[in-house]
Structure formats: structure tokens, C-alpha cells
Amino acid sequence: MAVTRLNYVSLYVTDLDLAKKHYEEIVGLRVTDVTKNQIYFQSSDSQDHHCVILNSSDRSGVEHIGFKVSDPSDLEEIKWESEKYGLETVTVDSGEILGIGEGVKVTLPSGHCLNFFYHTDVIGYANGMFNPKSIADEVMGVNPLSHLDHLLVTCEDPAKTIKFLQEVLDFNVSEMASAPDGSMIAGFATVGNTMHNIAFAGGPNGGLHHIAFYVYDRADVIRRTDLLKSKNIPTMEFGLTRHGVAGVTTVYFFDPAGNRNEFQCGAYETPGVPDRVELVTWDVANLMGKGGFYYEAAVEPKFFITVS
């Protein structure tokens, strides 16, 4: 039928052990599988096999991104449509990536690789699926986070890739930032009812700006910020803040390979299908002001250029 949701992100890390410690103890994900060069993680309140894969590498950044489809026949269609569009595709065998079935990898104009697949092994929620445990065990002294929410990636021409996602895969664009000449600086694309599953902003092709995890409470964002700072995890300038774009409370920090992470909380919801609601747009001046960081109404240039 259609693409349902962002399912996982596969990252490059320069030191697997350091990164494992970070995603397990600082972010608070469960390790679900391990190979010689990879570690698979899932959050407490997501039931599929994984939401993050770490790949031991000589570099940092995003290796590929996984999206689920709601019908096995979608894979053949995606392969065909993508190739017709002029994009490269690769078939992924079942089990080639642990915990998921066969898939089709598509290389977007932005340089990023998206893996579309139908099946994942269900590992269930951390509290259990049958008469679940009432309260989750704390991780790092905080409530466990909910799920992998979105990614922001970079490319030289955001509009080009967004167009493909809209035309072929029926993504909706909820918000957009544009330059004075009207060209797209950043586009926020979603297939469900959250503000974005994946957003594209100006920068090097194939770049990663950040991956974001959703926490249930803004109090959790506060507490997590306290813990990040006390453990000397590098955070962005303002620490805890709010984005004017989407109105979510957030804190950014870095993993030991230099990949930027985010904890966020905010219930922003969208219609989920294209052309329902008029696009929300941001101009550069407002984006640099309250759009980026609402309370401070200023953005450090580092925020935009730091990309892994």
C-alpha cells in the first residue's frame, strides 16, 4: 500500500565500544543484537527489532535509513518507480540486516540511502506485551525514551529530493524554510502524523545533521540535560531550548563519533497526507531568530555547519 513510517537509522561510528556505551547508557536504548562490527538498539516503547544500528567504521555519519511499507508488493513498485525516476536501487536480502526482511535500497538525489522493507521481527516493548509491567526501569536516572522520532540530513539541493519523496512515495511536506529568492533551505517531510520523519537542509550531500529521540515529558528533557552536562557530554550552546519550528522542547548533544543526537518532547501533529493543509513556511530571518531557538531568538552558526 504505502510507506508507513521511519523505522531505523544506521550510523557510522569511529569507535564501536565508546558508541555502545553512549547509546546504551546516555541515550538509554536496549541492545537487541550484536555482530562483529555492528550493534543493534531499540527504544523502550518501540516494538520492532531496532531503531538504531551502529557500524564500526573509520568515519562518522549516516550509513542508511530504514522505512517500513505496509504491503510486500510495495517493494517491487518502489524499485520500479525509483529506477524510472533515474535513481539507483539495490535489493536487500532478508536477514542481510539483522531482524528485518527483504528490502529495496534507494539512493536519493541527496546521496542518502533509504532502505524500504515490509517485515521486521517484533521484540515487543521493554515492559512486555502481555499484562505489561507498570513502570519501566530507569536508565541513567530518567524515564526511558519513547521512540526514534526523526532525522535531519543535509544535501546541496533539498528541493530535488523532497520532490522525489512527494511524487513517488506520497510524503507530505509539513513545513519549509526558504531563502529570500524562494529556494528551499530546508524541507520537513513526513509519511505519518508527526511534523517530520526526515528533513533535508542545505549542506554537503549525504551529511547527517542529527537524529532525534522522543521523550514523554519536558521534565525529562530538563533532567536529561542536567545529566548530559554533569557527565560532560558535549551539548549545543544553549543546552535546553525550544524550537520555534514545530514548538518542541529540545536538547542537542553528540555521540563519541561526533554524530549529533537530540532529545525532544512536543505533541505537534499534522494531517499526514499531502495537500491537506497549507504549507507552513519560514523565512531566513525568522528561522535564525525564534525559528531555531525560540527562547534565545538567536542561532550560533555552528548549529548549521556541524554535520557528520
Binding site: M1, A2, V3, T4, R5, N7, D45, S46, Q47, D48, K68, S70, D71, D74, E77, I78, E81, H119, T120, V122, Y125, M129, N131, P132, S134, S146, H147, D149, V168, L169, D170, V191, G192, N193, T194, Y214, Y216, D217, R218, A219, G244, G247, C265, G266, A267, Y268, E269, P271, G272, V273, R276, V277, E278, V280, T281, W282, N286, L287, K290, G291
Partner: protein
């Protein structure tokens, strides 16, 4: 392209009637105490939306001497989608009433039908857009000043109804309308279905758009609205109480059934309302697995903070 997202894509509205001849009490409660924004009204009907919603309305209340839940509205992709669903519903043996654009103000052509042992639903493909109350250009996503000091919820979250045959209602919702189940409650001995939370959306405070509880067919159990988080809800509870609103004895509580932090309260006519945060991110996918509760665990699941023997009569329908 067949990679198009078809079928029901969002919970659109709840429509009910109250014995409030000119809707005076209704206006005071829903606008001044709860903090919804009026979008359209006449002497005997009012349409309202939450401040963060761009649509014509998500709550519609009409005056009637025989008050009750009228229908729940869901939006589908387009008119062909609507036609296909109509055929599917009729093929399942349910009568469908087709109605023209404008039968309900702001709603395009639609189809209405009763789900087995449950309420009436209306499906439509077009609804008027009013646009965001914040505007669409570099908007300030902040509660409008006029409704600060009220809960002013962000979105309509879900509608809970009763059914005298939960399995039959749920079967129709899943098999014919394509809903998925995020959580359900079954009997301890035979595993018979008592209640289910059903969804089509993947939203942050997610897991349900329509929920089924046991009771007489088609009554309203409660209506829930989305808030950002639990601390907001604690503050909202203070505002409501300060405005003389009747808050459920459970007070603010954690509801394991649905993974929410919730506050239940009543309007002046006894309609039960909820503010919720938390929920779960769900995937509208055939392999999505629901959480299963057995009935004996349900009291813990409905209100984790309260004495399990507390007399809340949670299951009583409210309209």
C-alpha cells in the same frame, strides 16, 4: 501511483447533542473553561477546534431534547477512496447513507453508517481548511493569549464509545475500515475481547483514535484531547477546578492502558472528557502487535495511581 496513502487518515471530529436549548452552558464550558476555539455557530449548533488545528472543526455540539452521541467523523484520501470504502462497507452487509457536500457545514460529500453494535461513523474526503490560528508564516506555536489560563488542548486525540459486542465492532473496524489495534483487554479465562484501542494515525501522543469499551451499543464513553505532557495536565487540572469543573475522583493519573498520563473530568451535562499526554508511536502496519491485558489486570491498567477498590465506575458511559 499505488504507493498512495489511502483509507482513513485521521480522526476528524466528534459530533454530539446536549439538552442545552441555546447552547449557552455549552459555549461557556467548552470555550471559556476547556479552551476550544469557536469556528462557526448558529442558535442550535456550534463547531469548535483546538488552537493547534487547521480544520473547520473537530468538536461539534448541537442542541437537542434527546441528547446523545450523533457520530464520529473520519477523513479519507479522496472521493475515489470514499467510493471504494462505501462499496466495501455495503458488501459487508451494512447500510450506507450517502450525503451531499454541505449536509454538515464545512464537510464535503460523505457516507454515514452504523458500525455493528456501535455508533454511527461518517467518512468524507474534503473538509474546509481555516488554516492555523497562528498563521502559516513563521508561526509562533504558543497558546493564543485569549485562551491562556484554560487547558486549551492542542488536538482532538480519541473518542471512546461503548459496544454490547466489542468483538463484532472491532472486527468491522479492523477488517472493513483498516484500523489496527494498539492495546486490548480480554477475559482471563476465555480470552474474549472486552475492549480495544484502535488507530490509523502515527502521532506522538498516539495509540488510539477510536476506542471500544463494553456497554450499550453506540454510547459515548469519553472524548480525549492532546496535551504536550503531564506537567501541563497537572496545571490544567487546577484551572478546571478553579473554574468549578467536576473532576473525576481519580484525579490526574497514569493510565497504563494506552500508556498515557490523563485527567478525566465532566462538562455541565456529565459528558466525560479527558486531557492526555504520553501515548505511543504506532505503525499502521499489518504486523503491528497489540499489547494484551487480561481483565483482572484492567483496574491497574485504567488508573495506576488509585486504590484498585476505588469506586470510580469507570466503565459507565457518559452520553
Amino acid at each position: 501511483m499505488s504507493l498512495k496513502h489511502l483509507g482513513i487518515n485521521r480522526l476528524a471530529y466528534v459530533r454530539y447533542s446536549l439538552d442545552d436549548p441555546k447552547l449557552e452552558k455549552t459555549r461557556v464550558f467548552y470555550k471559556e473553561k476547556l479552551g476550544l476555539m469557536e469556528t462557526s455557530s448558529s442558535q442550535t449548533s456550534i463547531q469548535m477546534r483546538c488552537w493547534h488545528e487547521p480544520y473547520a472543526f473537530t468538536t461539534m455540539i448541537e442542541a437537542s431534547k434527546s441528547p446523545g452521541l450523533t457520530e464520529i467523523g473520519f477523513q479519507v484520501r479522496d472521493s475515489r477512496d470514499l467510493e471504494n470504502l462505501k462499496e466495501k462497507i455495503e458488501a459487508s452487509g451494512i447500510d450506507v447513507l450517502s450525503e451531499l457536500d454541505g449536509v454538515i457545514k464545512g464537510v464535503g460529500e460523505s457516507i454515514a453508517f452504523n458500525i455493528p453494535h456501535g455508533p454511527r461513523l461518517r467518512l468524507f474526503s474534503a473538509m474546509n481548511q481555516l488554516g492555523y490560528s497562528t498563521g502559516h508564516t513563521s508561526p509562533d506555536w504558543v497558546t493564543p493569549k485569549s485562551i491562556r489560563g484554560t487547558p486549551a488542548p492542542m488536538f482532538l486525540n480519541h473518542v471512546a464509545v461503548t459496544s454490547d459486542n466489542p468483538q463484532a465492532s472491532v472486527d468491522f473496524l479492523t477488517n472493513i475500515l483498516g484500523f489496527y489495534i494498539s492495546e486490548k483487554i480480554v477475559t482471563d479465562d476465555s480470552g474474549k475481547l472486552m475492549s480495544a484501542l484502535l488507530f490509523r494515525m502515527s502521532k506522538n501522543v498516539g495509540g488510539q483514535e477510536i476506542s471500544i469499551f463494553p456497554g450499550p451499543a453506540g454510547k459515548l464513553h469519553h472524548i480525549a484531547y492532546t496535551k504536550d505532557d503531564a506537567s501541563d495536565i497537572l496545571l490544567d487540572g487546577q484551572y478546571l477546578r478553579n473554574d468549578g469543573v467536576n473532576i473525576e475522583i481519580m484525579g490526574p493519573t497514569r493510565q497504563l492502558y494506552g500508556n498515557t498520563f490523563s485527567l478525566h473530568f465532566r462538562d455541565d451535562f456529565g459528558v466525560r472528557l479527558e486531557l492526555c499526554s504520553g501515548g505511543r508511536m504506532t505503525d499502521p502496519h499489518p504486523e503491528f502487535k497489540p499489547v494484551v491485558w487480561t481483565e483482572s489486570q484492567a483496574t491497574r491498567a485504567l488508573s495506576f495511581y488509585d486504590d484498585e477498590n476505588m469506586d470510580t465506575n469507570f466503565l459507565a458511559y457518559s452520553l
